[in-house]
Each structure stands twice: as C-alpha cells, then as structure tokens.
Amino acid sequence: MATPQVVIAPLLVALGTAVLALLTRWDTRVQRATSILGAVAYLGGVAALFRAVRLDPDNRLVYQVSGWDAPFGITLVADPLSTLLLALAAVVSLVAAVYSTRAVDLEGQRLSYHALYHLMVVGVTGALLTGDVFNLFVWFEVMLMSSYVLVAFDSGPASTRAALQYAVLNLLGSAVMLLAIGGLYATTGTLNMADMARRLAEPAAYGIDPAPVLGISAVLLVVFLLKAGVVPFQFWVPDAYRAAPAPVTAMLAGVVKKVGVYAVLRLYFTVFAAAPVAVSLPGIEGGPELGVLAFFGPVLFLLATASTLLGGLGAIDQPDLEGLLAYSSIAQIGFILLPVAVAATATDPAVRTVGVAAALVYSVNHGLAKSLLYMAGGAVEDAVGSTRLSDLGGLTETTPVLSGVVLVGALSLVGIPPLTGFFAKLLVFDTAVRAGAPLALGVALAGAVLTIAYATRVWNRAFWGDPGPRVQAAAAAALTRAGSTMEEAGDAVTDGGADPGAAPEDASAGHGDAHDQHHGDLSAAASIADPLLVGCTLALAVLLVALGVGFDPLYTAATDAASAALDTGAYVDAVDPTTAGEALADGGGGGSGGAHDIETLRSLRGDGR
C-alpha cells in the first residue's frame, strides 16, 4: 500500500532539480547531467505515482500538506486524470530536457535555462495535482513566471516583443483568475475543490446560493482558454511559439496547453457540474441535472469550432514551419475541446465518458506529436538556419531520419493508423456519432481535411522536391566537415564534390550552377541534422507508433481518467472534508467565520494526522 507521500514525489523531484541546476553552475557538464538526470527522476516519480494510483482501491491518493485536514489545509490529489497528464508531461519534459542541452546556447544554459525549465515543470506538476482553487492560481503563476523568461530566452527583437505580449496577456489573465477565485470564495465559502463540489451539490444544506457560480465560472473559463490558446484567445500563440527556443515551444504546446484543458475538465466537470443550477439564457436552456454545463457545452462547442477552422485555415497560409505548427496547435486544441463540448451537454453517462476520454487521448496524441514536430523544426533550423518553407525543400535527401520522424508526427496529427492519432480522431468521431451531434461530426471532418491540407503542404514544400539553396549550403558544409575530419585522421581520401572552404560560400551565394554540382552529393552527407536532436524526435516518434499499436493501455488510462473527472462523489469522498465541512456548515456561506471556527481549527489540528 502506497503512502500518500508519493503524491508530492514528482513535485519535490522537479523542485530539487531546479535548485541543483542553479547550484551546479560552476560546471556546465555537471549542470546538464543534473538536468537530464532530474528529468529521468521526475519520470520515475511520475511512474511511481501512476502505479500507486492504479493500485489504490479508490484510484485516488490524497496528501494533506502538514497534516491539516481539508478544507483548511492545502490538499494535493492524484487521480487517474492528473496522473495521465503528468505522464505526458514527464515524457515530453525528459525528451525536451535532453534536446535542450544541444539546442540552447551554452551560456544561456549555464545562467538559468535548466533551472527555469524545471521550475516550469514544477508549476505544471503542481497545477495538475492541487486540490485547491487558490493553489491552482499559485501553480499557474509558477509555471507562467518561468515561461515568460523562457519565451524571451533568445532575447532578440522578436523574442522580447512576443514575450511582452505573452506576459501582459497572462498577467491580465491572472488578475481575472484572482477575481473569479474571490467570487467563488464569496459564493461557496471555501477554496477546496472537493469541499466546493460538496457545498454546490447541496446548496441549501450549507446556506449558499449557487446561481453566481455560472457567471464566475464563465469568467474563469476565459483564463483557462487563454492558457490553452483557444479562439478568440489565440492571438499570442504564433508569436510566442516562434520566439521561444524549440524545446520550450515543445513544452508550451505539448504540456502547458494541456494544463488549461485539465483545469477545464477538473473544475467544470468535477466541481461546478455538481451545482443544481438551471440555465435559462437566450438560445440555451438546461435543467438542473446538467447544471452549468448546459451553458458551457454550447460555448465550448462554438469556440472549439472556431479554433479548428481558423487554426486550420491559418496554418495552410503560413510562410514558415514554426508559424504553421503554431496555427496547427490552435486547430488541434479545437479538436480536443470538441468532444469535451459534446460531453458537456450529453445526458448519457457513457457518452460523457467517451467524450472526455477522447479529449484526453487527443491531448496525449497532440502533446507527443506536436512536441515532436517542434523539436524537428528546431533540428531543421539548427541544420539549415531557417524554417521558412521557401528556403527548405529536399530534406528527405539530406536528413532522411528526421524526415521519417516528421512523417510519423504529421501522420499522427492527420490520424493514420496505426499511429496514436488515428485512435484519437476515431474517438472524437465516435463521441459525435454516439451523442447524435451531426454538427460536431461535420466540424471534426472539416478540421481533419484542413489538417491533411497543411500537413501535405509541409511535406511537399520542405521535405520533398529540389533542395533549396540553404539546404544545399548546409549539405555542402556537412560534406566539408566530414571531409576535413577524414583528412585530420590521416585518411587521404579527398571528397570530389566538396572543395573545403570554398563550397559553403559558393552555395550560400546562390549560384545557379551550384545546384547541379552538389545535388549528386547530397546523399553522401548522411544527415545534415544534429544526431542528438534527431534522436530526441525519434524517441517521440517511436512512442507515437508504440502507443498506437498497443493502444489498449492508453485507452484504459484515458477511460479511467474520464470516469475520475466525471465522478464528483468519489472525488469528494477521497479528499473527505466531512468533519470540517459539517463543522463549518452552521458558520454560514459568506466566507466569514465566528469564534467557534477557530476552536474547530484548533481541535482539527490537535487530532490531525
């Protein structure tokens, strides 16, 4: 039987790594080793937590910080929903950490990169584990604070501009989140999620009026959708994703976005759905059995549709790889929210479970595939010096392995069996069909067609066709390097095609005849991309194939997570605010207490764990 302490293991590991990465600045090699080992340990911690949650009879592990019982103390809850996304975060953060050691410049790594990177992981972990609304805000801030700096890390004109935009938007988002939290506290008299769900389920027993929850949760939704980059809160996405270093973008698109999705699932499906509020707005009617979800279903559907279509259309027209992937992220987040929206208004519990499970499988697929593509884009930029589609072309000849990896990632986004993306798309369609929502089905189909369009465009322009001048220059330089290495080794083989020294300038000057001269030799330079960077993307590609071929474990995990997200009662029971909740019930719902509350607090602390 696992102890509840395992819940904070990933949190402590990531925090410890961040601190150690600062302390080991005297030797960059030790520092990089610390960072990678820390990411490995984090993966281990998450795996242990995942296993412990699976083995737990309730499938939930609760850790009350300092032994203060809920709802007074800080509660950390690990359930299948949070551990599934933690597993995604652990995998992506490990691969991106290894990738960073090569992709980020050494001085930046020495100064602060690794510490900031792991602090971002700390924020993600905390946000996924916390059982307290205000702590969710704090963990969001931890995550964002690091990501502001990481977005600005290249510190060029474009990076600082994008970081400023990103920071100002998220600072406003934080202020709005604080407002919503204040409103929730005033309405329900508690900040603990389980206690809040409990009070909202029986508002009369606790003397609260649940009606304001609808408006407050709508305000809160803005914050989460801003983090997730959903239309109409998507405008920061392309700039920020272009500006950030490739491994950071992989984390932002692959993991940080999913925290917004997690918050929507956790708060709206587990907590706010408990409130028996009848919604009656123009065009939206819903009885108390659906609660606030009767309102959020149509709203989310509208935003998911807009994201899918605008993101997909925008991606088709982007001049560079990173911009295309950023718009693709906007489109894919629409795909994630679409089944969530269908599930929100579905009355059949089976459909709800499938809908949320579809969103989770899609999140995992998008998290892996998109971080793969961003890291591959970074590897291309590292090798060629540009990600503009007009500069690229013929990458299949010069970087065969990387091209294969990108093909896997792109096909997984498109949804070709046996990759994970196929099952993710299938589940989205399945949700729409089961719920009898032809409109959602149409949107999903249109989004799928758009995905095919932009994936094809990347492939045709960047990977197939004749190599552009920059690709040739890079290939020639690679040949030169290979040649000079051989000469140094005392091997007298002179490479015919590449005249050392002259070739790079020749090709980069864009001579017309350079094309024929070098074209035959491109395959001789085995790969112009950095092997470590390609290896990282390859690991993710293998995982995408493996999860698709052996889809069962992922499906089981996603279904468990969906059931956990929808089962408010079990969540409340696991956190168990029974004694405290009842003791405070007579204190009124206004959030203000009397002298007896202090006595309750003292007695609780006395027999606390």
């Binding site: 704090v138 600005a152 004109p157 600072l171 934080s174 202020a175 409103g183 503009r388 959030g591 203000s592």
Partner: protein, 150 residues
C-alpha cells in the same frame, strides 16, 4: 455605506487599469496591468467582509463593534500571496519593457506591431543593412521621439 465605497473604488480602479492597458505606450500598459491586479486584490479583501451589515462579519475598522469583530483572515492570506506574486511579475514586466526598448528601439505598441516577425534571415539582413551595429548598450536612434511623446 461600506459596500458603496468599496464598489466605487473597485470600479474606479478597474476603469483606470483598463484605460491604461489600452494605451500605446508599453510602460502605461504595464502600469495598467499592475493597477488591475491591485484592484483584483482589493476585490478579494472585499469578499472576506461578508458585507451583510451584521456585527461580526463586517470589517473591524469600518464597524468598530464592542465585541471586537474580525474580518475573514483567509482572504488576507490570499491577498498577501497575490501581492507577492504581483510584485514579482510587475518587476519582470518592467525589466522586459526595458529590454524590448533596447532590442526594438521603441516602446510604442503600434511601432512594435508594424515590425512583424520575418524570421531569423530577415533579422540578420537588417543587422547587416544597418551597419552601425555598435554595442548593445548604445541608445537606439529613435529613442528621442518615442520616449518623449505621449
């Protein structure tokens, strides 16, 4: 009375913050964000008062009752946390603003927006074109116009 005063103060702060956020000058935008987060803090404190008019639930310095009523301590703890976070983020935003000024030579949002991202190649070309590269610490040429106006 307390409700009206606080509601007016909150409305005023939010209006001022929103007005500043919509300005073109980045420093004013950062000020606006800071004011909005302070307004959010004030709102949080307000939520702890109860505002029911009943003794024991209103803020002590407004009621001054005989039985020494106290306000909800939880919201004050929340606000303390939020103030600390807000301090850090505001400081970062101001430093970032200075950095944007150093890199782009302007803190006017319209000027910043008119230089859309053109990729590392275009940025490199710009550097080559304006060959008076100098060191990073030199004041950008457009500083007088952008800093002085508004």
């Amino acid at each position: 009375m307390a409700e009206v005063t606080l509601a007016l103060a909150l409305g005023l702060l939010f209006a001022l913050g929103t007005f500043l956020v919509l300005r073109r000058d980045v420093v004013r935008v950062v000020w606006g964000v800071a004011i909005i987060s302070q307004a959010a803090n004030l709102y949080l404190v307000t939520m702890g008062f109860g505002l029911t008019g009943a003794p024991g639930t209103d803020v002590p310095f407004l009621t001054g009752g005989t039985e020494a009523p106290y306000a909800d301590p939880l919201v004050q703890a929340l606000v303390l946390t939020a103030i600390v976070i807000g301090f850090g983020t505001t400081a970062f935003a101001l430093v970032l603003t200075y950095r944007v000024y150093e890199e782009n030579g302007t803190i006017d949002l319209s000027d910043l927006a008119s230089n859309p991202f053109e990729g590392p190649e275009a940025a490199a070309a710009e550097v080559r074109a304006g060959d008076t590269d100098g060191t990073e610490s030199t004041v950008p040429p457009t500083s007088d116009e952008t800093g002085g106006e508004q």
